[in-house]
């Protein structure tokens, strides 16, 4: 059992916390918004109850919740061995957080950035322990996905890789190693695909349902790109495309104005009850 800190109780942090707790790890989930923590616990309970129905194992929701401690203070992470960061894809927020983590955590605590597009080497440079920082790109929904991208930074040590690989093995995740670059492999392709799909809707070439239907029926994908955008979070898609644009300075990564408008309007997808589609909310 590893004592793992999870920072950020959004869609990904909640999934990571659930997955770790389901596999017997002790989890400290930290977010600066108490409402986000309450919502995360409610979501985890529902996901555990639903696990068998969605093709997963039978999960004891009470036991999972008992393995998760929550709070708003980073000080709670003082005794953790690994911290997995899942906050908003925003460089200023990440910069402030890693500086604080570097102070409150033990010197040998490993930091894992579950980022969508920001390079790991750049994040590691925010700390005094770049050898103990690496990236893992978890897929959503985390407990249901069997693999993740495994991204060492320039200075990541072999020991750090071993610690993180062992943790991923313990939750049944295959680690697929890729080199550090903005967006890695998955999001370099996926975010542009979703962005271009949003442009099709924005330009009136097809509505969201039709775009997704093409991917489902013609390509055999289980979900279309705009359903996927709603699952990931429309705001997260926008921020990731913006990071790619900033990192590469290439106009092919220009974000679709529709993604900006939807993000501003709070149409963030499943988590907000409405995105390209409308959903039953938990409230």
């Amino acid at each position: 059992m590893t004592n793992v800190g999870v920072v950020g109780a959004g869609v990904m942090g909640t999934g990571v916390a659930q997955d770790l707790a389901q596999h017997g790890h002790s989890v400290v989930l930290v977010d600066n918004d108490p409402d986000a923590l309450d919502a995360a616990l409610a979501r985890i309970e529902l996901e555990c109850r639903m696990s068998r129905m969605l093709g997963g194992p039978q999960v004891d929701a009470e036991a999972v919740l008992a393995s998760i401690t929550t709070g708003t203070s980073l000080e709670l992470l003082a005794e953790t061995e690994v911290v997995i960061e899942n906050i908003t894809e925003n460089w200023d927020l990440k910069s402030a957080l890693y500086a604080q983590l570097d102070v409150v955590c033990k010197a040998d605590t490993v930091f894992v950035a579950n980022t969508s597009a920001i390079p790991i080497t750049k994040i590691a440079a925010l700390t005094s322990r770049p050898d103990k920082v690496m990236g893992v790109h978890f897929m959503n929904p985390v407990p249901m996905k069997a693999a993740c991208e495994f991204i060492p930074g320039y200075h990541t040590s072999e020991q750090t890789k071993d610690v993180v690989r062992a943790l991923l093995d313990s939750v049944g995740k295959k680690s697929i190693p890729v080199n550090d670059a903005p967006g890695f492999v998955s999001n370099r392709v996926l975010m542009l695909t979703v962005n271009e799909a949003a442009f099709l809707v924005h330009e009136g070439v097809a509505d969201a349902k039709t775009v997704d239907e093409v991917f489902r029926s013609c390509f055999g994908h289980p979900m279309g790109p705009l359903e996927t955008a709603d699952l990931i979070g429309v705001d997260t898609i926008l921020y990731s495309v913006e990071v790619l644009y900033e990192q590469f300075n290439d106009s092919k990564y220009r974000p679709c104005p529709l993604l900006k408008k939807m993000t501003d309007a709070g149409l963030h997808g499943r988590k907000s009850g409405k995105g390209f589609y409308v959903y039953q909310s938990m409230g």
Binding site: L46, M50, R52, M223
Partner: protein, 83 residues
């Protein structure tokens, strides 16, 4: 109660999928217009609309495959609550 439950459940589904026609007995998952993630929305909707908490042993896709099966589930929960 059961007819009322059928109406509410059908309305919930057809609001989301206005172009699809299906009977109360048809398997909505087999028809292919919903996926397993929609099952979670169905659970949330039923628990909220009918003020019930579905027990773990009832949380399987077999209970959510059709409007009729979901209405039966609601009837079982509400009668259990009364009894």
């Amino acid at each position: 109660m059961s007819n009322d439950a059928r109406t509410q459940i059908r309305t919930f589904i057809t609001t989301k999928f206005p172009d699809v026609t299906f009977s109360d007995e048809e398997d909505i998952f087999a028809l292919g217009f919903v996926n397993s993630l929609f099952a979670m929305e169905l659970v949330m909707f039923i628990e909220k609309a009918f003020g019930t908490r579905i027990p773990n042993e009832e949380l399987h896709l077999g209970n959510f495959r059709s409007v009729a099966l979901m209405a039966d589930l609601v009837a079982r929960q509400t009668s259990a609550a009364v009894g």
